[in-house]
Symmetry: none
Subunit: 222 residues, 4 copies
DNA sequence: TATGAATGAGTCTTCATTCAT
DNA sequence: TATGAATGAAGACTCATTCAT
């Protein structure tokens, strides 16, 4: 329609809007939901971001809620499988394993975009039990298993001590959760590099705060 | 809290049923906002919960947002001061201090209702920067200071080792954050006692996972 | 708003829009539904006709359908009771009774506005079973009883013959139904006075078409 | 309809499943319009019922309304011609003629599906004057003529009396109209066999209610 | 100050209609 | 000619906000 395009004989100069498949809509929805939450997201905006018109969304999803659920379900990915494989096959020490596994988890979260999902689950999970449950089944439970396996391995090999922590191994990933929360709330006022969270995380998980050699010294509080 | 009340033993002469002052409205708002988020909360419901009528809310707050902000601001309480005092005056070992401080934090959060605030900050902070900032200034920063002081104390006394964790001491409270998130999303599918989170928390913070070679003494927590 | 009212010190000069009670809305709805049918009626138009704004309707009715049902229900009037009383107490011949009762029914229908109801029931009854049922119970069944009583009376007094018609007495009012249908569809192309329908109705009901050989007597209605 | 087809005796080489010509679409439309009314009928449903896709409808009809009108027009059948022929040629008594003609009308209506048309005219006629007019011209007027001829015949032969009814002969078919209305609204709550309507109809038309020989005899059912 | 009826802008949802293939 | 994805104008419904009492 503009002259700029006149040069081409290309039969499908801009192929209309043919890329408006559910995929684009889901992606757009994911972004909007993550940014605004379910209630505050306007389908109009989702449509705009997807490059379609409001009505088009309804060709694929029968309601805002269904889009929401479909969007989330589509991203429920077995991302812990990666870690699971690692744990199962790891040849080295359990400490090394932790030092390898946690960075992978951070990478999946913050580089591969998984934290968007987590953000939505955290903010909307309370209001969409079905989704929270799905996520719990598919991701959280699986994650717990993997972490538990990792911890168990360490204990069995005599590398980790048995403790309240090994009784609730999920707590091992708590700092990653906190990082997500931090990034979505306070980071703009006090930015912290993910890397630093990761380092502190690994550190705490492995060593805790206490100085190791409390040997004969028994320094402290005496 | 105000002097006006000090004079009287008067049985509150006239004043409608629910005592519909801003206080009730704020309290009701807090609950609703925590349950539904800002966008999905209807002033009608807030009013009902407060025992007043929708219009009445506007007598005290000029908009939904103002109520929201007022409600949160009213609860931004220096609850870390308590811990701060504890840290400053603690006579015992830093390990003991941690074992004392963390339970207090959990109590403040889960027994005194502070997690309601946290929940709101977490779910809405991204959309209300002003509020997140306020909370960051008044609560988070203060909390960081207190935790940092605690950690520093331990390091200075030679009880804690210096590490990536002591460089980002806030991570020490990560499991509490995770507990809040868990309670608001997955607890209904997999209930976990707060106490267990706390135990694992203390455990991880102090000892980490590694089976420490504590010389022959085998001193610790036995 | 007009000077005509200026004389008064009346504290509520034009009482705003205070007459926008459910009654007005129902009345407006009835008109619109009768004119356009349920699906084609826009709440906006109902509101306008009632002198209110769209949203106001929802203060009283939670949906278009509820308004529709409420409107109809409110007009389901025992208008046959009148005829019932007449039949019960009538002193004269059954022929006279018919000649008295049918005009009353026509008056109720066409002068007192009942045909609006009938029109809606006819056009929408198939799609609103609940309403049709209510109408059937409250009006049609009652009407049948009354007509049946009237017919039975005639038969018992030897004035009416027993026949297929007296076995299905509702058919006696068929021409009134046809009149309603005519008025709503063909009257604009071929207007027929209600009176003529009524006359033919009475005539057919009483005498039928056949030239009765009434012996020498020529008894009847002369 | 086009010449292109003229060349071939080809056994309809390609043509999809349901043979999606206007005929199917019209038939489907008729059903849907009869069931739901014009406004509440969705072209999507019409298409589905016709075994085509929504867009296909627009190949034959430029709008929903045009389909509606075309559908109705296609069924405006001179179904009274049948009765007209009967009346013109009938050798027997007029009473017999009525006893022959009315069942035919009922058959056309309820067995040959004409009541579907009537139903639509009744429910939508008020909103589609053009259609009502067409129907009035082609069917109603013609019907009136036929009925009038029948009645006139009886009067002229001395079999029927002259009366208000013979002045408005259309009323003679009123019970058939009522039967249609009953079937579409109350039949589900109180089913009545068409046959019974017909019997009462014939009965009323011919004899009316009155006992014939009201002479001195006072014969009847005493 | 409190009420609650009324407002009207905003959003979801539907569906007749268009159009590239 | 048929398809079905896309459009966009409507229309139902919600709810923050106002205002007369």
């Amino acid at each position: 329609m503009t002259e700029r395009e006149s040069a081409a004989d290309t039969p499908k100069p801009r192929r209309r809007r043919k890329d408006a498949r559910p995929g684009e809509i889901i992606e757009a929805g994911l972004q909007e939901f993550a940014e605004n939450g379910f209630a505050a997201t306007r389908l109009e905006d989702v449509a705009k971001r997807a490059g379609v018109v409001k009505g088009t969304i309804y060709r694929y999803f029968s309601s805002k809620e269904e889009l929401f659920e479909a969007a989330l379900a589509s991203r429920i990915t077995p991302f812990f499988d990666d870690v699971a494989g690692l744990v199962a096959a790891y040849p080295g020490s359990s400490e090394e394993l932790v030092r390898t596994a946690l960075p992978r988890i951070y990478k999946a979260l913050f580089e591969d975009g998984l934290h968007v999902m987590m953000r939505i689950i955290i903010t909307e999970g309370g209001r969409f039990p079905a989704i929270a449950e799905l996520y719990h089944q598919r991701v959280i439970s699986r994650g717990q298993e993997v972490i538990a396996a990792l911890v168990r391995r360490g204990v069995e090999r005599g590398e980790f001590r048995r403790s309240a922590l090994t009784d609730l191994p999920i707590v091992v990933v708590a700092p990653a959760v906190m990082t997500i929360v931090w990034k979505m709330t306070f980071d703009r006022f006090e930015p912290i590099e993910t890397r630093r969270f990761l380092d502190a995380h690994v550190d705490m998980v492995l060593e805790g705060l206490l100085a190791k050699d409390r040997g004969g010294t028994e320094a402290a509080d005496g």
